[in-house]
């Protein structure tokens, strides 16, 4: 059975390794999150917003050309069609309702690709709550359209200038802000990372993805279970949502796709399951990239949303226990997959998501398999990057 225990561990991974200054905040959340989520009034408001505001259920789309190319059956779970363009909003809707019920009046968040920042700024605008988003200075540069979106939505974007100036450092800054503002502030973490209860809470909010997949697959194929689910993993929230209701269905293969950056052994990578060892990052015991001296390593990926040196404790457990397979995909392979999907299906995916599509070239499957790929987000935010590589990828290989 794959489940979280009372102390917040999945097997050896999880827990709450936090300084005492954070204890009251995290403890308040831990004591109330399950109960609040189960309240009728919460569920009613949450479901209503997912339907009318986010646009759920997101379609499950049979990708005919892709299926033909790979000689199998491929469905795409269209999280890219959600309001704000990614799965991230499932979680921020849930957490803003949680924050309101906890009486919080100020929201902070970290963001990498800017998708979670936009999703947070959006729900704060919706609820009329102050919003501050921490973002690495490097990411502010490479995800400029999302920075403008956040500002237009009324959020303050604060650059994180320490360390590698990416997602890890933005997370550090957000945690520091929370330490300094212990009473009125809720921290909306954007993935299944951080101290317990965050990994579990975010997974529950994202679990709507696999909840819908079950009945949608049943409608399409007559079976609720696919043979395989493929999702990209930064911290792991879209994967956690896509896997959630299948975790204990042993006949469903789970494939977690990480960013290999310039290559696993290049020194410029974010493939945590291969390069990581057990340790503690952002309050959670999990797999992370670090030196033998326990210093956290700066990761690298072309995709800001996968550019994180850890993975959520659920995924560490799934991978270590053999329940999930990990695949790592380089920048170039992800770019190629993005161009391929665009041409084949008329869908420009987010760079993060493109990694999941590239995994189709790396894994084995049968002709009669049913594969679901979590299409976690759309590529509007990545157009600058794509345009830079347009010439290189428009006429080569399988993209002709």
């Amino acid at each position: 059975m794959i489940a979280i225990n009372e102390k917040g561990y999945y097997g050896d991974f999880g827990g709450a390794y936090i300084p005492e200054m954070l204890h009251p905040n995290v403890e308040e959340l831990r004591q109330h999150y399950v109960q609040i989520m189960q309240e009728d009034s919460f569920q009613k408001e949450f479901q209503q917003l997912l339907k009318d505001y986010v646009g759920r259920p997101s379609p499950l789309y049979l990708a005919k050309s892709l299926s033909e190319h790979y000689q199998t059956t491929i469905y795409l779970k269209r999280e890219d069609l959600n309001h704000t363009g990614a799965h991230k909003i499932n979680n921020t809707i849930g957490q803003i309702l949680m924050a309101k019920r906890l009486g919080k009046t100020r929201i902070i968040a970290e963001t990498g690709a800017g998708q979670h920042g936009v999703a947070t700024a959006t729900v704060c605008a919706l609820m009329g709550i102050q919003c501050i988003v921490y973002m690495g200075a490097v990411d502010i540069e490479r995800q400029a359209p999302n920075v403008s979106r956040m500002r237009m939505l009324g959020a303050e974007v604060r650059p994180a200038v320490s360390g590698s100036q990416t997602l890890k450092d933005a997370t550090n800054e957000a945690i520091r802000d929370w330490i300094n503002n212990p009473v009125d502030t809720h921290y909306i973490i954007g993935s299944v990372v951080g101290p317990h209860p965050y990994p579990d809470m975010v997974a529950r909010f994202q679990s709507v993805i696999s909840e819908e997949m079950k009945w949608q697959l049943e409608e399409h194929t007559g079976k609720a279970n696919p043979d395989m689910i493929v999702a990209c993993v930064g911290g792991g929230s879209n994967a956690a949502g896509a896997f959630y209701h299948y975790l204990n269905e042993k006949d469903v293969r789970l494939v977690a796709v990480e960013a290999a950056g310039l290559g696993i052994n290049s020194g410029e990578s974010a493939a945590t399951s291969v390069l990581g060892t057990e340790g503690v990052i952002h309050g959670s015991r999990t797999l992370l990239m670090q030196t033998s001296d326990g210093q956290i390593v700066e990761p690298y990926s072309i995709s800001a949303g996968l550019d994180y040196p850890g993975i959520g404790p659920l995924h560490a457990h799934l991978i270590k226990s053999g329940r999930a397979e990990a695949v790592s995909i380089t920048d170039d392979d992800a770019l190629e997959a993005a161009f391929f999907l665009s041409r084949k299906e008329g869908i420009i995916p987010a760079l993060e998501t493109a990694h999941a599509f590239s995994a189709l070239d790396k894994i084995s499957f049968q002709r009669d398999d049913v594969i679901v790929i979590c299409l976690s987000g759309r590529g509007d935010k990545d157009l600058n990057t794509y345009i830079k590589h347009l010439d290189r990828f428009s006429g080569i290989g399988k993209i002709s």
């Binding site: 200054m21 009251p24 520091r176």
Partner: protein, 267 residues
């Protein structure tokens, strides 16, 4: 006998604990800083193990840690430096860092090494009480290595009692809910928190840290606890120090109020 126990058995007020980041400003400054602090009359010294992601620290300590790492500081090297300076001083030394660093070194190996080089206690702000009690308490207590846990104005009485039970050496009282960094004033709210803790009659001595940076804040802290911990203010001084020994002496004299205020303008 653990040097912390020795210290607290001889002195229970105005204890001055100074923190510095090992490997900063220069990699090999550890020895000179420790000996200068001792000479200046500091009671115990906290060595920060520089860390890439110091969640509980403010910009001053964070930046000094980044510099120390860039200078090449590692845990094995720090242990070597401590071992050497231990030949020349008996001042209580504690190490402060993050749990991941200890985990990678190996918990038992870390404890053994601390004992071997003459470290008296540790502070690991992100080690949860629960994990410590379940898995590591016996290892620490058997080795005689002390450990301090933190309390804040938001810590419940029940939890403070637990901290008092698990702590050996002294309790680290965070003066307000915030990350480290000199703030320079102590508010009425903080005073009522100090009074509340005083009334609990804890078995461990208490040192107040975070925001202590001047003679006034030090004196106030000492009225309500057994002493205080200074970090960021000392590191800021070190950043500008011309002569570590001389400047450390002046810094400590100022904190203790041994230099008349008028003269303070000159240093």
């Amino acid at each position: 006998m653990n040097r912390l126990d020795q210290l607290f058995s001889q002195k229970n007020d105005h204890i001055l604990n100074i923190y510095f980041t090992a490997g900063y400003p220069k990699l090999a400054d550890t020895k000179e800083i420790i000996l200068s602090l001792e000479k200046a009359g500091v009671d115990l010294i906290e060595l920060g193990m520089p860390y890439s992601d110091p969640l509980a620290d403010g910009p001053t300590i964070q930046e000094s840690g980044q510099q120390a790492l860039a200078n090449g500081m590692t845990l094995p090297l720090l242990f070597d430096q401590i071992k050497e300076v231990r030949q020349e001083t008996q001042i209580p030394l504690i190490m402060m860092g993050y749990f991941n660093q200890v985990m990678q070194f190996g918990i038992q190996a870390f404890i053994d090494k601390c004992v071997e080089v003459g470290i008296d206690g540790v502070i690991l702000p992100d080690l949860p009480l629960y994990e410590y009690e379940q898995y590591y308490r016996d290892m620490f207590e058997q080795a005689g290595l002390h450990i301090s846990f933190l309390i804040t104005p938001q810590t419940s009485e029940e939890r403070i009692r637990k901290v008092d039970e698990l702590t050996k050496g002294f309790i680290y009282m965070v003066s307000n809910s915030s990350i480290t960094g000199a703030k320079n004033t102590i508010s009425d709210l903080q005073l009522s928190y100090f009074n509340r803790i005083n009334a609990l009659q804890l078995k461990n001595p208490r040192l107040i840290g975070f925001g202590i940076s001047s003679h006034e804040t030090f004196e106030t802290a000492c009225q309500y606890a057994n002493g205080a911990i200074i970090g960021s203010a000392y590191i800021k001084m070190l950043a500008k120090a011309q002569d570590i020994e001389k400047d450390t002496k002046l810094f400590v004299q100022k904190i203790k109020g041994e230099i008349p205020t008028k003269l303070q303008y000159m240093v």
